[in-house]
Each structure stands twice: as C-alpha cells, then as structure tokens.
Amino acid sequence: MNRIVVGAHYGLKDWLAQRITAIIMAVFTVIVAAAVLSGAAASHEGWRAFVGNGLIRFLAFLFVVSLCYHAWIGVRDIWMDYVKPTAVRVTLHVLTLLVLVGYAGWATQVLWRL
C-alpha cells in the first residue's frame, strides 16, 4: 500500500462538515448583524448584554467551534495544494491545528466569562 501520511482521506466527511459549519456561521452572522443594525448592541453595556444572553452565548460557542473546524479544513486544503514536501506539510498541518484549538479555547473563555 502506498499510503501518504498527509493524504486527502478522500474528503466526503470534510466536504459535508465544511458546508454544515458554513451554514451555522452564516445564520449566526445574520443574527449578529441584525442586532448591531438595530442599535441594540451599540453601547458597551448593550453589547455585553447581547453576547451574555443565554441563547446568543450558546450560538456564539457553536460559531467558534464551526469557525475553527471550517478554518482547519480550508487551511489544510491550501497546504495540501501548494506544499509538497511531506515534512513541511505535516508540520504546517500540526501548527494549524494547534493554533486553531488554542483560538477555540481563547474565544470560548472570552464568551463564557461574561
């Protein structure tokens, strides 16, 4: 078998995940845009109250997880398309994963300490 450690895994699951996470983010974007345009989140207090709302907090967490999963697939595809040496590519894959996991933790802490 000629398996490549950074191969594509033939991607149907990733293809689907990319779409599901995109829809979650798009819906949440519309909700936030509506809140901002309505002026409800214009002040510092209003903004904190909006993000601190239980439902928004829940959806914002889903947004963060979706964003990081979506970015993982997208950025990994960029490395797969343009970076050929296996050692460099796998290093970039790991670094991408590590920063995204870190971002997810950081952003969740920002949202959930409200």
């Binding site: 829809i23 904190r48 997208g74 971002y103 950081w106 949202l111 409200l114």
Partner: protein, 130 residues
C-alpha cells in the same frame, strides 16, 4: 503517442494566466479565507477587549481606531463579505441552483459586486464617514 504528450504546453505563469470572472472570484474565496485565518488572533483580541471592563472597552476603541488597524479591518471586512457571498453561491450550486454556464458566470459577477458594494457601505461606516 508519447511524442504528442510531450508537446503539451505548460502554462503555469501566474502573471499570464487569464481566469474567467468565476475563476477569479473562486481564488479570491481562498485568498479571503486565508486572510481571515491569519488575522483571527487580532479579531479574538478585539472581541475580548470589547466585552471586557470599561477600561478594556476604551482600549478596544483606541486599537480599532488606529489607522493601520482600520485598514486591516477594512480588508477583513471585504474578506468576510466576499467569503460569505461566495460561500452562499457554492452552497446554492451544491443543491443544483445556478449550475448552467451563464447563471454561474452571472452569480460570480453578483458575488463580486455585492461584496464590494457592502464593503463600501459598511467600510465608510467603519472609517467614520457617517
């Protein structure tokens, strides 16, 4: 015929490749996604400041008001809007809406126009013009 396969031109000069608009919008989807990924730390930091204490909020205002940061945010605004609009186009094509050549060309044009127009409208707000 091996001698014929040898004759195939390799045309991979990025400066000379002329993409149709749909191809151009497509590569911009990748470019905008990469830009958003690279600037994620800035965006999370700004979110953190905006949701913190009143002092944090004042710092958020100061950082977001810096001309260089404003320029970056303007670029990210376009990147987000382009990625968003192009994403919706991709999702529609996935469910077989707008697959025909003319429709696909028109929707690519629409993505470019709508994302640039929204960037202009929201960007002027960001820059404090109104």
């Amino acid at each position: 015929m091996p001698e014929m396969t040898k004759q195939r031109p390799k045309f991979l000069n990025l400066a000379e490749i002329r993409l149709p608009l749909a191809g151009f919008a497509s590569i911009l989807h990748r470019v905008s996604g990469a830009g958003l990924f690279l600037m994620l730390p800035l965006l999370i930091w700004l979110l953190e400041l905006s949701l913190g204490t009143p002092e944090n909020f004042a710092q958020f205002k100061a950082v977001a008001g810096h001309p260089l940061v404003k320029l970056i945010l303007l670029g990210l605004l376009w990147a987000f809007l382009h990625h968003f609009c192009m994403g919706i186009r991709i999702l529609l094509i996935d469910v077989h809406v707008g697959v025909e050549k003319e429709q696909a060309a028109a929707s690519a044009k629409a993505v470019m126009v709508v994302s640039l127009a929204l960037t202009l409208v929201l960007g002027l707000k960001l820059l404090g013009v109104y």
